[in-house]
């Protein structure tokens, strides 16, 4: 069986690890040893859209990861990626490494720590951690994969097929940037607005009846994001406004991670999402006053409890 390492066992990492463990030999790299012990001893339970318990290996020691691993998925939050990539230096010599973080810049962070062939991914699935060894599978939307460094679309397709065989949705692309940027603009807008207002991603985000309705602001933010993408030469795969409208019509009130982070007073992914988008706007000399405002407000909100 294919040997796979999943580094980071938050909700996305746990969903990938548990499903892949049905078709591959999976080892999870955790930060805390007691987390690894819990996974080794009791397996990883999936509820919600799935209902099974996966048997898998787990360790908190990068040196104990299988040297023969062919694929390593780095599924930590973007704020934890730099230290994770540093811990992996010199390990996983035979593996292709795949990033799956929100925002922009994850691939470059990992590239600086090793010569691994790299794949990019963005994921639209979601889950909720119910404990160290239990994840609820909430949204069964796809994970999109593309080549980044030393890889081809065929490599992306093999990984997508493995993920699909495990029971999740995945698709390979020759160039991930159009999809990655669609999600970037979507996340910068929706996560930022959710973090500031306390609203889950619900109907308010698409509401445009009254002049002061939130949907107008969301659409204006998305329009700025589209202008940045156009200036960067990226032809968006999906219209982020349509993504927003569709998501709010699903009838499910999704709590974006940035909102959960703010409520739990944790560091957010604002730098790799909103910060990355605004820096791209600066680089391409596109004026984005609303995205800039959103970025500044979320940074300041974060500072109110971190500083």
């Amino acid at each position: 069986m294919t040997k796979v390492v999943v580094a980071g066992a938050g909700s996305i990492g746990s969903l990938l690890a548990a499903h892949l463990a049905r078709v591959a030999d999976v080892t999870v790299l955790t930060r805390r040893e007691e987390h690894a012990v819990a996974l080794r001893e009791g397996g990883l339970r999936v509820s919600g859209r799935g209902d099974f318990t996966a048997r898998l290996g787990a360790t908190s020691d990068p040196g104990a990861l299988p040297a023969a691993a062919e694929l390593a998925i780095l599924a930590c939050k973007s704020t934890d990626l730099e230290p994770l990539a540093a811990r992996l230096e010199g390990a996983l010599a035979r593996a292709t490494v795949m990033t799956i973080q929100n925002g922009l810049g994850a691939e470059e962070i990992v590239a600086a720590h090793g010569e691994w062939p790299l794949l990019s991914a963005v994921t639209f699935m979601s889950g909720t951690r119910r404990g160290d060894a239990h994840v609820e599978y909430v949204l069964d939307t796809a994970t999109w994969i593309g080549p980044f460094r030393g890889t081809t679309e065929a490599d992306a397709r093999r990984v997508a097929e493995l993920i699909e065989a495990g029971g999740l949705k995945a698709q390979a692309f020759p160039d991930l940037r159009p999809a990655q940027w669609s999600k970037l603009v979507f996340n910068a807008t929706v996560n930022g607005v959710a973090a500031l207002t306390g609203l889950p991603h619900d109907f308010h985000f698409a509401q445009t009846e009254k002049r002061s309705d939130l949907g107008h602001l969301v659409r204006d933010l998305v329009d700025e994001g589209k202008a940045i993408a156009a200036a960067a030469g990226v032809d968006l795969h999906d219209d982020p406004w349509e993504m927003n409208v569709l998501a709010t019509r699903r009838g499910h009130r999704h709590f974006p991670s940035m909102l959960e982070d703010v409520e739990a007073r944790r560091p957010t992914e604002v730098e790799l999402i909103n910060g990355a988008l605004v820096r791209e706007a600066d680089r391409h000399e596109v004026a984005v006053p609303l995205q800039t405002t959103l970025y500044r407000l979320v940074k300041a909100r974060e500072a109110s409890y971190l500083e």
Binding site: L196, S212, A303, S304
Partner: protein, 301 residues
């Protein structure tokens, strides 16, 4: 009308005058009962015990020469709708925050006085208000229907009572100065959780405040309003450690207590007057939408 902190400051002071009969109208019956039993006490910036006649019943109000409306802006309409009968031959002044209160009052009474007041405090317990800040009140006619002599008479009464007030021809300058100050700083505190001083010491956030101020100034200028002071200087002054560095904006206090904010009358007012004057106000509109989103988040099922 409306005896929270600001209304109580006016009511307690005016009731000290021998030639003025002062009524305190508020829906908070505990507060009114305490006022009628023990008087209305102010402490802090000054010690005052006044004895206005308190009521929560609009029908109890006699015909009055003047009304002073000090409710939160979203309560203007019900307050004046219930009490307008008492001012059929009088003038009604607003000392509320925000834009649009005068227009609302003018829909119910003939003679309206535009007012802006700087004193502040908070209701500590029924019948007792903490007086935090002394300050001036500026009064001016809303339109040609309000006699200037009546504006002067109200200003004189306030001044004699210990609440210094000035009658002016056009009170929009101080009003817009205060609105721009509040609209550019209060919601930033409310959205980020930062005190006024911490908002101002983050250069990126201070730049956002300037962006909001500039929109407000442009809307005021398009109406021919001359601000009586630069909001930027007032904002920086207030950020000093010895002034209001640690002050939590009232809107932040509202958000923490999950009380409806006055954002529709601050940023929303600037947006509305901007639209009427053809002046774009994208930042104020964005801030209004975000704060409305915060309010919506409290009623989630």
């Amino acid at each position: 009308m409306g005896c929270g902190a600001v209304g109580s400051l006016f009511a307690a002071h005016l009731s000290l005058l021998d030639d003025v009969e002062t009524w305190a109208f508020d829906l908070n019956e505990l507060h009114i009962a305490a006022i009628n039993r023990d008087g209305l006490r102010l402490s802090g910036a000054g010690e005052v015990v006044g004895h206005p006649r308190g009521t929560s019943d609009p029908a109890a109000l006699p015909p009055c020469d003047f009304g002073i409306v000090a409710t939160k802006a979203m309560h203007t309409r019900p307050a004046i709708a219930a009490t307008a009968h008492a001012f059929a031959d009088g003038c009604v002044a607003t000392v509320q925050n925000g834009l649009g209160n005068e227009e609302e009052l003018a829909g119910h009474v003939e003679r309206v006085i535009r007012g802006t007041t700087f004193p502040a405090g908070k209701l500590l317990e029924p019948g007792h208000v903490q007086w935090d800040v002394k300050g001036e009140t500026t009064l001016g006619p809303f339109d040609g229907r309000t006699p200037e002599a009546e504006v002067q008479r109200l200003a004189d009464a306030c001044t004699r009572a210990g609440m210094p007030a000035e009658a002016v021809d056009d009170a929009r300058g101080p009003q817009w100065r205060k609105v721009i100050f509040n609209a550019s700083t209060n919601p930033i505190g409310a959205l980020t959780g930062l005190t006024h001083g911490r908002v101002c010491e983050r250069p990126d956030l201070r730049a956002l405040v300037t962006g909001l101020v500039d929109e407000g100034k442009a809307v005021a200028a398009a109406q021919g309003i001359e601000l009586d002071a630069d909001p930027e200087e007032l904002i920086d002054h207030a950020a000093r450690k010895d002034v209001a560095y640690d002050h939590k904006a009232s809107m932040l206090q509202d958000v923490e207590a999950q009380r409806q904010t006055e954002v529709d009358y601050l940023n929303g007012g600037i947006v509305r007057f901007g639209r009427e004057g053809g002046v774009p106000t994208p930042l104020n509109a964005a801030i209004q939408a975000l704060v409305k989103g915060v309010e919506a988040s409290w009623t989630q099922s």
